[in-house]
């Protein structure tokens, strides 16, 4: 058996990989580096929000009011961490799958730069002058166009990588990422129009806003995470997915129904009943793609010791937990959209728990897993410390579990358990971010060295 056969990849292909990865290095450094910084900022702000009483020194400033810190943490998490990280990871994934050599990576870098500048402005304004009425849209009005233009520059490159791929390959992972990237820009512009630029009556504003939030959560973040799941499960296990022919049905039903689940978050509020009912129906219909995606991914993981191998792979350990959490949060959302169930959950921290399961244990864990695989390949460096990875995994998992327990099961212990969980998350994120910076900066430019191990 020759070296070529054992590596499973001819040398020619190996040089081709580095030609794909090398031009991604600069945008990846900028985007993922900023993402790691935003993650730490967001975890620090979240920790502050879980404290019942702030230290006397800062508690008296209105900048540290709970509402402002919470809004700033949410924006930093969704747009700063998840947004930046997905710009980088999605582009890497689709370049990888389509053998796409990007020649205008500077455009993604410029987009990322302006995205981060605008986001700094937005977060600052939330802290200084208070959040607006619409979560995830509480920016100064002028920041909307800047964010949209930056997204167009940084976030549409995965679509180009798909459209201009020299290979004819067509994988489910690509569909999810392309759909997610296109949908965000569309939803963002429409939400700006319907909520701010040409607002209609109050009911329409509220419905448009709920649709935007759900679209960002389920389609942009959730869709990208599912794309990562489809890629890594099959890649790490080195086997086809279970019932893969159903993946296209899963994709189309997911993108069809996810937006219609939005009014389920308005059940019990003064919007017309038929709009609320649409949300209930949408949430129930979303069980179809949830079942199919579960069949594809969890089916593949459940054969031939797949879970065991997932546990032993850094990337797949994070990603399999992420997929399970994401699917679980969607199933729980369908259950909680039932009117009688919802009546009992409406004024509790249940929705907070759902968001945590979806955005943190779901999306963020998938991004963590993908980052462990992608960073060394793009930067040519290595993750410096296995211990740091263990600290990161256990702190994040226990922190997420504690926060989910606090939100779902034990509201009376909310304060203490939440604070401990937030502290654990911050520790895990410090371990992740510091080693990620080391991995990003330690490598020599790819192309001069062999690509790192998988």
């Amino acid at each position: 058996m020759t070296q070529e056969q054992r590596s499973g990849r001819p040398d020619e292909d190996r040089s081709r990989l580095s030609r794909i990865d090398a031009p991604l290095r600069a945008p990846f450094l900028l985007l993922f580096g900023s993402a790691a910084l935003w993650l730490m900022l967001s975890s620090a702000l979240s920790l502050l929000t879980t404290l019942k009483a702030l230290p006397a020194g800062i508690g008296s400033y209105e900048w540290f009011a709970h509402g402002r810190l919470e809004a700033a943490a949410r924006n930093a998490f969704v747009y700063g961490w998840a947004g930046n990280a997905l710009f980088a990871i999605n582009l890497w994934l689709l370049a990888q799958l389509g053998r796409f050599e990007i020649r205008n990576g500077w455009m993604a870098s410029v987009g990322g730069l302006f995205w981060n500048l605008a986001l700094t402005w937005c977060t600052g304004s939330v802290i200084v002058s208070g959040p607006g009425a619409y979560a995830l849209l509480d920016f100064p009005v002028g920041a909307g166009p800047v964010l949209a233009a930056s997204f167009a520059l940084a976030g549409l490159w995965p679509v180009v990588a798909y459209a201009k791929r020299p290979t004819g390959h067509n994988f489910a992972a690509q569909w999810f990422v392309v759909g997610a990237s296109v949908t965000f820009l569309l939803a963002f512009l429409l939400a700006q129009a319907a909520v701010f630029w040409a607002p209609a009556s109050g009911v329409v504003q509220a419905v448009a806003h709920s649709w935007y939030v759900r679209t960002v959560h389920l389609l942009w973040l959730g869709g990208s995470a599912l794309g990562l799941g489809y890629y890594f499960v099959s890649k790490v296990l080195a086997r086809p997915l279970h019932a893969y022919y159903l993946a296209s049905v899963a994709f189309w039903t997911y993108f069809l129904f996810a937006g219609w689940t939005a009014p389920a978050s308005l059940i019990g509020s003064p919007v017309p009943l038929w709009i609320q009912s649409i949300g209930v129906v949408g949430s129930m219909m979303l069980l179809v793609p949830v079942l199919l995606i579960g069949l594809n991914l969890l089916g593949a993981l459940s054969r031939d010791g797949g879970w065991f191998r997932a546990w032993n792979s850094t990337s797949l350990r994070f990603i399999s937990i992420g997929i399970v959490s994401l699917l679980a949060s969607l199933a729980i959302a369908a259950w909680a959209s039932d009117r009688s169930v919802n009546a009992g959950l409406r004024f509790t921290s249940f929705a907070e728990g759902q968001n945590l399961l979806l955005l943190y244990a779901g999306v963020t864990f998938c991004v963590f897993g993908a980052a462990y695989a992608a960073l060394p390949r793009v930067s040519g460096g290595r993750w410096p410390s296995a211990a740091a990875i263990h600290v990161h995994f256990w702190a994040s998992t226990l922190g997420a579990a504690g926060a989910a327990f606090a939100a779902f099961a034990h509201p009376s212990a909310h304060g203490f358990i939440s604070a401990v969980s937030a502290a654990l998350l911050l520790i895990g994120h410090l371990a992740f971010a510091s080693t990620a910076f080391a991995a990003l900066l330690s490598g020599v430019p790819a192309g001069e060295s062999q690509p790192a191990h998988d």
């Binding site: 990007i102 549409l156 490159w157 296109v182 429409l190 209609a200």
Partner: protein, 247 residues
């Protein structure tokens, strides 16, 4: 994917052209959706428009009132009204004007509302009036004149009917809408204008109503009807109780 020689490189590189195409696609879908949204967006509701109209009317009335209160004006008898604070200032500076003050003269009461002795109309007039009543009024106000509470008000013991006849003439000519309270019951129906009646018919039927069912009020003349009809000759909409000051 071979590199093209420098001189034949296109102005817009292929990848950037694709990026522009993706952007254009997303932009076109967004523009179409926003256009659809603006087209189907609920405009200003009639209720909101009505409220805005009321707010504007109220602001206008208040502006007029404050202008009247704040400025001097000439009375009909050649004397002048001045604002109270100005009057106080003048009185403080020149106390001798207080001696020249004359009490304000109450305006003369309109002749029509002066009480008159009851003179029954002649038999023929009442007969003609009853015929008109049976043709037009009877469906709502009933043969007894008692109406059908709470939809149609009675014509009995109602100052609207037995008072100033010009009011009843207005109702018959143009109709009436808005809330009206008779004998403790508030009616909010609409009385349509009565079509196909001459001034003589109106005078007869109102005389009949004012002198039947226990009512004892003066007869109505053709001249009175004609005066009201001429005064409101351009009117096409029913009278409104608010406009007439009826409660």
């Amino acid at each position: 994917m071979s590199e093209l020689p420098l001189r034949s490189r296109p102005l817009i590189p292929g990848q950037v052209a694709s990026w522009l195409a993706v952007l254009a696609l997303v932009g076109a879908v967004t523009a179409a959706s926003v256009a659809a949204f603006l087209h189907f967006r609920t405009g200003v509701s009639p209720e909101a428009a009505r409220r805005a109209q009321q707010v504007a009317l109220r602001a206008e009335t208040e502006a007029k009132a404050s202008t009247l209160l704040a400025s001097s004006a000439k009375n009909d008898d050649g004397t002048y009204r001045i604002p109270l604070n100005e009057a106080l200032r003048i009185a403080a500076e020149r106390p001798e004007v207080l001696g020249k003050l004359a009490p304000a003269v109450a305006p003369a009461a309109p002749a029509s509302s002066a009480p008159t002795a009851f003179v029954p109309a002649d038999e023929a007039t009442l007969k003609r009036g009853q015929a008109v009543y049976a043709r037009t009024c009877i469906a709502c106000h009933q043969p007894t004149g008692m109406g059908l509470p709470p939809v149609f008000p009675p014509l009995v013991e109602s100052p609207l009917v037995t008072g100033d006849p010009s009011l009843s003439i207005k109702f018959v000519l143009h109709g009436l809408m808005g809330p009206v309270t008779v004998k403790g019951i508030t009616y909010n129906s609409m009385m349509p204008p009565v079509m196909g009646v001459t001034d003589q018919d109106i005078a007869d039927v109102l005389t009949y109503v004012r002198q039947s069912f226990g009512n004892k009020a003066s007869a109505v003349t053709v001249a009175q009807v004609k005066a009201v009809r001429d005064a409101a000759s351009g009117r096409t909409v029913p009278w409104n109780t608010a406009e007439l000051g009826i409660k």
